[in-house]
C-alpha cells in the first residue's frame, strides 16, 4: 500500500510539472485532471473516502469541465501554442524557479523532522456530514454566501458592456 501512495505522489508531481510546462492549454488541463485523480487516490488511502469522492466529482468533474468550456469557447487555435512556446523560451523562468527551489528546500528542512503521532481510523462520510452540519454549520452558510457572491460576480464580469467613446478597449 505505501508503494501505491508513493507512486501516486510521483505521478501527481510529474503531471504537475507537465501542467506548468505545457504549451497547449487543453493538454495542460488533462494533466491537471491527472494530478487531481492521483490526489483523490491518495485521499482514499489516507482514510478520507468522502474527500476523495468530492475531489473526483466536483474538482475533476465540475470545475475542470468549466475550464474546458472556457478553453473551447476562446478557441485560440494553433497560433496560441506558438505564442506559448515563444513566451516559454528565454531565461525568464530561472529567477522564479530558483525562488521556488529555495522555498521548497526551506519547507523540506522545516517539515522533515516532523513527529509522527497517532495512527488513526478512517473518517467516513457520515462523520464528515455530522461535523459539517454540527459544529461547522456557520461555515456551510458562509460557503454558500461565497458561492452566491461568485455567481453574481461572474455574471457581472461577463456582461457585454457598451463601450463609451474614449474608453480604452
Amino acid at each position: 500500500m505505501p508503494f501505491l501512495f508513493y507512486l501516486c505522489a510521483l505521478i501527481a508531481l510529474l503531471a504537475a510539472w507537465q501542467v506548468i510546462r505545457g504549451v497547449n492549454a487543453m493538454h495542460a488541463l488533462l494533466y491537471l485532471i491527472v494530478v487531481l485523480l492521483a490526489i483523490a487516490l491518495m485521499f482514499f488511502m489516507l482514510g478520507a473516502p468522502f474527500a476523495a469522492a468530492l475531489e473526483v466529482i466536483i474538482y475533476a468533474g465540475a470545475i475542470m469541465v468549466l475550464m474546458v468550456f472556457v478553453i473551447m469557447m476562446l478557441n485560440q487555435g494553433d497560433s496560441a501554442v506558438g505564442q506559448e512556446r515563444a513566451w516559454r523560451a528565454g531565461r525568464i523562468w530561472r529567477g522564479p524557479a530558483l525562488l521556488c527551489a529555495v522555498l521548497l528546500a526551506q519547507l523540506g528542512y522545516l517539515l522533515l523532522p516532523a513527529v509522527v503521532s497517532a495512527d488513526a481510523a478512517a473518517v467516513d462520510a457520515v462523520a464528515v456530514g455530522r461535523a459539517l452540519y454540527g459544529p461547522y454549520l456557520l461555515l456551510v452558510e458562509l460557503a454558500s454566501m461565497l458561492l452566491l457572491a461568485a455567481l453574481v460576480g461572474a455574471w457581472h464580469l461577463t456582461r457585454v458592456l457598451k463601450h463609451r467613446p474614449g474608453e480604452e478597449v
Binding site: 529567477g95 522564479p96 525562488l99 521556488c100 529555495v102 522555498l103 526551506q106 519547507l107 528542512y109 522545516l110
Partner: protein, 603 residues
C-alpha cells in the same frame, strides 16, 4: 413684547442658513419667499417693538444666556434695546426690507440667486446682532459677520478677477480696523474683566477719569470705526466695493454696514467723552474725509463710484458730528442718509439695468424723457443729498452744522464741513445733469416691474419726509446745552448748497471749455484716483511687504518642512517603481517575502 427681541436677528440668520445649505435646490419663488419673508418678519417685529418702546420708553435687556466662561471672564448672549438700537433697527430692517424687495427683481434669473439672498440675509442678521448686542463680544461677532458678508457680496460675481480683488481689498483694509477694535476689547477685558457694554462704560467713567487708558481705548475704537465706515485713512476700499451687485452697494456700502462705525462710536460715547483729544480727532477725521471724498466725487466717471465717494463723504459728516459732540444729529443724519442713499443706489441700479449694465457717466445723458421715473428718484435723492430745503437731508445736515457750531464754534473742521456742503451740492447737480440732460448716448430700455418701482417710491417718500420720523434718543445721549448761533452762521449754512447749485448751473451752461480742461488736469486726475491714497499705500505698505516676502522666501524655518516634502516625494518615486502593474511581479514579491520569513524562522 421683549421676548420677541431675539427673533429679530434670528429670523434672517435662520433663513440664510437654509438658503446657503439647500438654496440651490429651491425654486426661485421659494427663495424669494424665504429671503424677503424673513426680513419682512424682522421688520414687522422691529416695528412692533419700536412702537412699544415709544410708548413706554425704557431700555430693555433680554435674558442672558451664558456663552463663554474663562479665567474670570464671563460672556453672555444678551440683547440690549434702547433708543439708539431702535433707530438702527428701524433703518436696518426698514431699508433692508425695501432693498430685499428690489433685489428680488434686480437679481431675477441670476444663477446665484439663492446664494445672493443667503448672503444678504446673513448680512441683515449679523448687522442686527451688531446693533442689538449687549456685549462687546457679541457686537464683535456681528461686526465680523457684516465684514464677511461684505467680502462675499463684493466678490459675488466671482468669475471676474477684478471683483475678487476688490473683495479681498475690502476684507484686508477693514481687517486693519478690526484688529484695532479687537485690541480695544482685550484692554477692556484686562482692565474690567468684563465685556458687558453698559458695565464697561460705567466702570470706565469711574476708573478712567484722567487716566491714559481712555485715550488709548477711544483711539483703538476709532480705528475700528474708521475701518468699517471707510473714513480716512482706511477709506480706500469703499470705491472698489462697488464691484458687487447694485442692491448690495445700496444695502451694505451705503445704508447700513458702513454706518456701523458711527453706531460704535455713538454706543461707546461714554468712553469717547473721557478723551477730549480723541473727540477732536474724530471731528477732524470726519471733516477731512467728507471734504476729500466730496472732491473725489466731483470728478468720477463711474456712476456708482460717484455714489461711493458721496457715501464716504456723508459718513464723514456723521463722524464730524460725533466728534463735535452732536451725537443725536449724527444718528439723525445716519437715518436720513440711509434713506436717500439707498434711493440713489437703487435708482442708479435701475438706470444701469436699463442701459444694459453701462456704468460710465460719459456714455449716459439725455435720459430725462426716456426714464422719467428714475429721473424723479434721482431728483429727490440728489436734492436730499445736497441738503435742499424740505428734504430730509436738509434737516439732518442743518442740525449737524448748527449743533457743531454751537458746541465748538468755527474750528477748522467746521469750516471744512461747511465748504463740503457746497461741494456736495455741486457734485449732486453734476450727477443729475450728466445723467438726465445733454445728448443721449445710449438708448435705454425701461424696466418698470412693480418690485423695482414700489421700493423706489417708498424710499422717495422716506427721503423727502424721513426727517419727520421721531428719534427716541433722549435717554441715550445727554441733551445739548442750548446755545445761540449767530444769524450769519445760520445763513451761511442755508446758503451753501445753493452756492454749489448756482456754480454748477453756470458751469454747465457756460463753462463747457473750462469743464473740458478741468477734467484732464492733474488735480482732477488725482481726485479721480481718490487723492492717490491707493498709490500711496501700494508704495508704502504693499510693495515693501512683497519685497520682504521675496527676500524671506527661503528662510531657515522652511527647510525642515521642505525636507519632509522632498523626502516624501523621493520615497514616492522609489516606491512607485515597484508599482509596475505586473501581476507576476507582485506574486514574486509575495513569494520572496515568504522565503525571507521562513529564512528567519529557519535560522
Amino acid at each position: 413684547m421683549t421676548a420677541w427681541l431675539g427673533w429679530i436677528p434670528a429670523l434672517p440668520l435662520f433663513s440664510s442658513l437654509v438658503l446657503l445649505l439647500v438654496g440651490g435646490r429651491l425654486g426661485q419663488r421659494l427663495v424669494t419667499l424665504l429671503g424677503v419673508g424673513s426680513v419682512l418678519g424682522s421688520a414687522l417685529l422691529s416695528g412692533l417693538l419700536i412702537a412699544d418702546f415709544l410708548a413706554e420708553g425704557a431700555a430693555v435687556t433680554t435674558r442672558q444666556l451664558p456663552w463663554l466662561s474663562s479665567m474670570g471672564l464671563e460672556v453672555a448672549f444678551g440683547l440690549y434695546f434702547d433708543g439708539l438700537s431702535a433707530v438702527m433697527l428701524g433703518v436696518i430692517t426698514g431699508v433692508g426690507l425695501l432693498i430685499h424687495l428690489y433685489s428680488a427683481a434686480y437679481m431675477a434669473g441670476d444663477e446665484g440667486y439663492a446664494r445672493f439672498f443667503g448672503y444678504l440675509n446673513l448680512f441683515v442678521g449679523a448687522m442686527l446682532l451688531l446693533v442689538l448686542a449687549d456685549d462687546f463680544l457679541l457686537l464683535y461677532l456681528g461686526w465680523e459677520g457684516v465684514g464677511l458678508c461684505s467680502f462675499l457680496l463684493i466678490g459675488f460675481w466671482y468669475r471676474e478677477p477684478a471683483n475678487g480683488y476688490a473683495a479681498r481689498k475690502a476684507f484686508v483694509v477693514t481687517r486693519v480696523g478690526d484688529i484695532a477694535l479687537a485690541v480695544a476689547l482685550l484692554i477692556m477685558i484686562q482692565q474690567f474683566g468684563t465685556l458687558h457694554i453698559q458695565t464697561v462704560i460705567e466702570r470706565a467713567q469711574l476708573q478712567w477719569l484722567g487716566s491714559d487708558w481712555s485715550f488709548w481705548v477711544a483711539l483703538l475704537l476709532l480705528g475700528g470705526a474708521v475701518g468699517k465706515s471707510a473714513q480716512l485713512p482706511l477709506q480706500t476700499w469703499l470705491p472698489d466695493a462697488m464691484a458687487g451687485p447694485t442692491p448690495v452697494s445700496a444695502l451694505i456700502h451705503a445704508a447700513t454696514m458702513v454706518t456701523a462705525g458711527v453706531y460704535l462710536i455713538a454706543r461707546t460715547q461714554g468712553i469717547f467723552l473721557l478723551a477730549p483729544r480723541i473727540m477732536e480727532l474724530v471731528a477732524l477725521v470726519g471733516a477731512l474725509t467728507l471734504f476729500l471724498a466730496a472732491c473725489s466725487a466731483l470728478v468720477q466717471h463711474d456712476l456708482k463710484r460717484v455714489l461711493a465717494y458721496s457715501t464716504i463723504s456723508q459718513i464723514g459728516y456723521m463722524f464730524f458730528a460725533l466728534g463735535a459732540g452732536a451725537f443725536s444729529a449724527a444718528i439723525f443724519h445716519l437715518m436720513t442718509h440711509a434713506f436717500f442713499k439707498a434711493l440713489l443706489f437703487l435708482a442708479a441700479g435701475q438706470v444701469i439695468l436699463s442701459l444694459h449694465h453701462e456704468q460710465d457717466l460719459r456714455r449716459m445723458g439725455g435720459l430725462l424723457r426716456r426714464l422719467p421715473f428714475s429721473a424723479l428718484c434721482f431728483a429727490i435723492g440728489c436734492a436730499a443729498l445736497a441738503a435742499l430745503p424740505l428734504t430730509s437731508g436738509f434737516y439732518s445736515k442743518d442740525a449737524i452744522l448748527l449743533q457743531a457750531y454751537g458746541l465748538h464754534g468755527g474750528s477748522l473742521a467746521w469750516w471744512l464741513a461747511l465748504a463740503g456742503a457746497a461741494v456736495t451740492a455741486l457734485y449732486s447737480l453734476r450727477l443729475f445733469l450728466k445723467l438726465f440732460f445733454g445728448e443721449a448716448v445710449t438708448e435705454p430700455s425701461p424696466d418698470m416691474r412693480p418690485t423695482l418701482v414700489v421700493p423706489l417710491a417708498l424710499l422717495c417718500l422716506l427721503a423727502l419726509f424721513g426727517a419727520l420720523i421721531p428719534q427716541p434718543l433722549g435717554a441715550v445721549f445727554a441733551p445739548l446745552a442750548a446755545t445761540e448761533v449767530p444769524a450769519a452762521v445760520h445763513g451761511a449754512i442755508l446758503i451753501m448748497p445753493w452756492l454749489g447749485l448756482v456754480t454748477g448751473v453756470l458751469l454747465w451752461r457756460y463753462g463747457r471749455g473750462f469743464r473740458q480742461r478741468w477734467s484732464d488736469s492733474a488735480l482732477a486726475r488725482s481726485w479721480r484716483a481718490g487723492w492717490g491714497f491707493d498709490a500711496l499705500y501700494d508704495g508704502l505698505l504693499v510693495q515693501p511687504l512683497l519685497l520682504l516676502a521675496r527676500l524671506n522666501r527661503k528662510d531657515l524655518a522652511d527647510r525642515p518642512v521642505q525636507f519632509v516634502a522632498w523626502l516624501s516625494a523621493r520615497g514616492h518615486a522609489w516606491l512607485s517603481v515597484t508599482q509596475n502593474g505586473r501581476l507576476r511581479r507582485y506574486a514574486a514579491g509575495i513569494a520572496l517575502g515568504a522565503v525571507l520569513v521562513l529564512t528567519v524562522v529557519t535560522l
